[in-house]
C-alpha cells in the first residue's frame, strides 16, 4: 500500500499548545513536511521566537535555539556564520518581527544572511492577550485599540514583505496565506522554495504567512478563516515580492 500522508519526522509528537483554530500548528506542519522532503532535518537549526510560538523548540524535531523577543534574526546570523553549510530558519510572529525586532530583520535581510524566516502575521498580539500589533488593520479592535485602530494615533499596518523586498540582500520574499486548502498548498510551495534557495546559498529568504487568531479576534475558528480572507488579503496582498535568479 502506498502511504500518501504520514506524520512528519521533522515534528516531535508533543501536542501543540495553540488555541483551537489557530494556524500556527498548520504552519509548523508545512515547515516539517518541507524539511522531510528536502531531507534536511539533521542539518537544520531552528530559532524560536517569543510570543505564541515561543515553544516551537518543543515541536520541531531538529536542533533549536530559543531567542529573546525580536532577536531571532541576530541569533540566526550567529548560528549561520558558525555553520554556513547547515540550514537555519527563524520562526517569528508579527510582534516579534515587525515591532521589537524590526532592526534585526531589516539588517539580517539587507546583509543577505543566508537563512530563512517564516513570518507569521495574524495582525494581533496573541500571547500577551490580544493587544494591537504593528500589523493590526485599520479600525481593527484589540485590547489596546478598543474603539478600533486609529491610523492618526497609531500609524499604519506595517507591510514587511513589501519593505524588505526593496533591499538588495534578500533572495526570495513571498506572502502566502493558510485560510483554505488551495492557499495552504501554495504556502507550502513558497516555504519549500525559500529553504531550497537557502540550500543553494542564494541569500536571505522570507515567507510571510497570513494566519488566524480566533481567540483574540473574538470569532470562531471557521469565521476566523473568513475574516482573514475578507479583511487581511486587501491590506496584505499575496504575491512573490522578490525572487532572484
Amino acid at each position: 500500500m502506498k502511504i500518501v500522508a504520514d506524520y512528519p519526522e521533522s515534528l516531535t509528537e508533543k501536542e501543540f499548545h495553540y488555541c483551537p483554530g489557530c494556524t500556527h500548528g498548520l504552519i509548523h506542519r508545512l515547515i516539517a513536511e518541507v524539511m522531510d522532503e528536502l531531507e534536511i532535518r539533521e542539518d537544520t537549526i531552528g530559532i524560536a521566537p517569543v510570543g505564541c510560538s515561543v515553544l516551537a523548540y518543543e515541536y520541531f524535531n531538529c536542533d533549536m535555539q530559543e531567542a529573546s523577543h525580536g532577536r531571532a534574526p541576530a541569533v540566526a546570523t550567529g548560528v549561520k556564520r558558525v555553520h554556513p553549510d547547515k540550514v537555519v530558519f527563524t520562526y517569528q510572529g508579527d510582534g516579534d518581527l515587525a515591532s521589537i525586532g524590526t532592526a534585526e530583520i531589516v539588517h539580517a535581510a539587507n546583509r543577505g544572511e543566508n537563512f530563512t524566516t517564516i513570518f507569521v502575521n495574524n495582525a494581533i498580539y496573541g500571547m500577551t492577550g490580544g493587544q494591537m500589533a504593528p500589523t493590526t488593520l485599520k479600525e481593527q479592535k484589540t485590547s489596546t485599540s478598543q474603539s478600533g485602530r486609529n491610523l492618526q494615533e497609531s500609524g499604519n499596518p506595517i507591510k514587511m514583505s513589501e519593505m524588505l523586498s526593496v533591499l538588495d540582500g534578500p533572495a526570495y520574499i513571498a506572502r502566502v496565506s493558510v485560510h483554505d486548502p488551495k492557499h495552504i498548498i501554495k504556502a507550502k510551495k513558497a516555504i519549500k522554495k525559500a529553504f531550497q534557495m537557502q540550500i543553494e546559498k542564494k541569500g536571505f529568504t522570507m515567507v510571510e504567512v497570513l494566519s488566524t487568531c480566533p481567540t483574540n479576534w473574538g470569532v470562531s475558528p471557521v469565521k476566523a478563516l473568513d475574516w482573514l480572507a475578507e479583511n487581511m488579503l486587501d491590506v496584505y496582498p499575496l504575491a512573490v515580492y522578490k525572487e532572484v535568479e
Partner: protein, 351 residues
C-alpha cells in the same frame, strides 16, 4: 617569546585570536574601537568571522547564536553599549552558553563621557541584566594582564558554560605596553561541545533555551546555576598583594586604580607609613577571604575607585564591620594621582 608593543584594545583582540576565538560580533563605541578594528582584519586572516552588527543588541544576540552553535566567540563594547547587551547577557547566562565579553569602561551615567572610569562595577558583578545570574568578572591592571586574562577567560567560559567579562577601563584599552603572547590555541584541538546546536545527525536534538514555564523547574534551574556560581567562588578567586607582609593599613583597588595605588604605597613607605595594597583581580567571585583574613593585621582600609563608590560595598561586606573602611573616588573620567591617594592615606594614618 617575542615582546611586542601593543595598544591594550589590540592586545586583547590578539589574545582572543590566540585563545582560538574565531567569531567576533561587535558595534563601534569609544574607547574600545581599536578592538573591533583589529578583529576586522585579523579574523579573516585566521579563517574566522568578523561582523559589525547593526547594534549592540544584535551583536550580543549573534554571540548567543554562535555560542550555542559551539563556537568560541567574543564581543566587546564600552559602558553604554554594555547596558544594551545586558538583556542578551542574561539570556546567555540563563541558557548556559560560554562567551567572552570585553567592557572597556568609560564614564557615565547616560552618555557620560569617553574618559576612563570604573563605574560599571555594580553592573558587571551584581548581574546587571535580569534574574539571578552571575559571571566571572576579571579586571586587568596592565596590558600584559589583559592579554593573559582574556586567554584564560575563554577557558573559564567553556568550563562553566557561562559568560566571562573582562572589565577594563579606558586606560587599559588605550595605553601601549610591551606584551608577550605565551601560547596559541588551535580551535580544532578544543573539546567537542556535545550540547551545541550544530545539526542533530546521529543523536537526539539539542535545544538552547532559558525558558522554564514550570516554577518548580525554574527554581531547580536557578539552584543548578547557583551550584555553578558557588564552584566559581571556590576556584576562581584571584588577587595580588603588594607590600602587605607587615602592613597596618591597606588600600583595596583594582585595574588602573590599583596600579596608581602601588605608587601611593611606595610614597607612604618612604614616609614610614606601613601601607599595603590588596588588588582584586577577579571581581566576581570577589576575593573576600583574603580581605577578611587581613583584618587581623590591618587597622584601616581605603578603597580607591574611579567611581562614586561601588566595590567599597563588597570590601565592607568582607571586612564585616571589624575595621573601618574608607573610600576615595574620582569620577566623570578623572583619574586619581598617587600623590592625591597618598595625601588621603596620610590623613587616615594620623587620625
Amino acid at each position: 617569546m617575542e615582546k611586542v608593543l601593543m595598544k591594550g584594545n589590540e592586545a586583547i583582540a590578539e589574545a582572543a585570536v590566540r585563545a582560538g576565538c574565531r567569531h567576533f560580533f561587535g558595534y563601534p563605541i569609544t574607547p574600545q574601537n581599536e578592538l573591533p578594528e583589529y578583529m576586522s582584519h585579523r579574523m579573516p586572516e585566521v579563517g574566522g568571522v568578523f561582523l559589525q552588527a547593526e547594534s549592540e543588541v544584535a551583536a550580543i544576540n549573534m554571540v548567543y547564536g554562535a555560542a550555542g552553535a559551539g563556537a568560541r566567540v567574543m564581543t566587546s563594547s564600552s559602558s553604554p553599549g554594555i547596558s544594551l547587551k545586558l538583556e542578551g547577557i542574561s539570556y546567555i547566562a540563563g541558557a548556559e552558553l560560554p562567551c567572552v565579553i570585553i567592557n572597556v569602561m568609560r564614564a557615565g551615567p547616560g552618555l557620560g563621557g569617553i574618559q576612563p572610569s570604573q563605574a560599571d562595577y555594580f553592573q558587571a558583578v551584581k548581574g546587571g541584566g535580569h534574574g539571578d545570574y552571575r559571571m566571572t568578572v576579571l579586571a586587568p591592571s596592565t596590558v600584559q594582564e589583559a592579554v593573559d586574562l582574556t586567554m584564560e577567560a575563554f577557558e573559564i567560559a567553556d568550563y562553566y558554560r557561562n559568560p566571562v567579562m573582562i572589565l577594563a577601563d579606558g586606560y587599559i584599552g588605550q595605553m601601549m605596553e610591551p606584551v608577550v603572547f605565551n601560547k596559541t590555541v588551535n580551535p580544532e584541538d578544543l573539546a567537542a561541545k556535545s550540547w551545541a546546536t550544530d545539526g542533530a545527525k546521529g543523536r537526539d536534538v539539542n535545544i538552547i533555551n532559558s525558558l522554564f514555564l514550570d516554577p518548580e523547574e525554574l527554581e531547580e534551574h536557578n539552584h543548578d546555576l547557583d551550584r555553578k556560581y558557588q564552584e566559581m567562588k571556590k576556584r576562581e578567586n584571584r588577587y595580588e598583594l603588594y607590600k602587605m607582609e607587615d602592613a597596618e593599613m591597606a588600600i583595596v583597588a583594582y585595574g588602573t586604580t590599583a596600579r596608581i595605588s602601588t605608587k601611593a604605597v611606595d610614597l607612604a613607605r618612604e614616609k614610614g607609613i606601613k601601607l599595603g595594597l590588596i588588588r582584586p583581580i577577579s571581581l566576581y567571585p570577589f576575593p573576600e577571604k583574603i580581605i577578611q583574613e587581613s583584618t587581623k593585621d590591618i587597622e584601616k582600609y581605603l578603597v580607591v575607585e574611579m567611581s562614586m563608590g561601588q566595590m567599597v560595598e563588597d570590601v565592607k561586606l568582607a571586612v564585616n564591620g571589624q575595621r573601618p573602611v574608607h573610600f576615595h573616588g574620582r569620577t566623570g573620567g578623572m583619574v586619581p594621582t598617587p600623590e592625591e591617594i597618598f595625601s588621603v592615606i596620610e590623613d587616615l594614618w594620623e587620625e
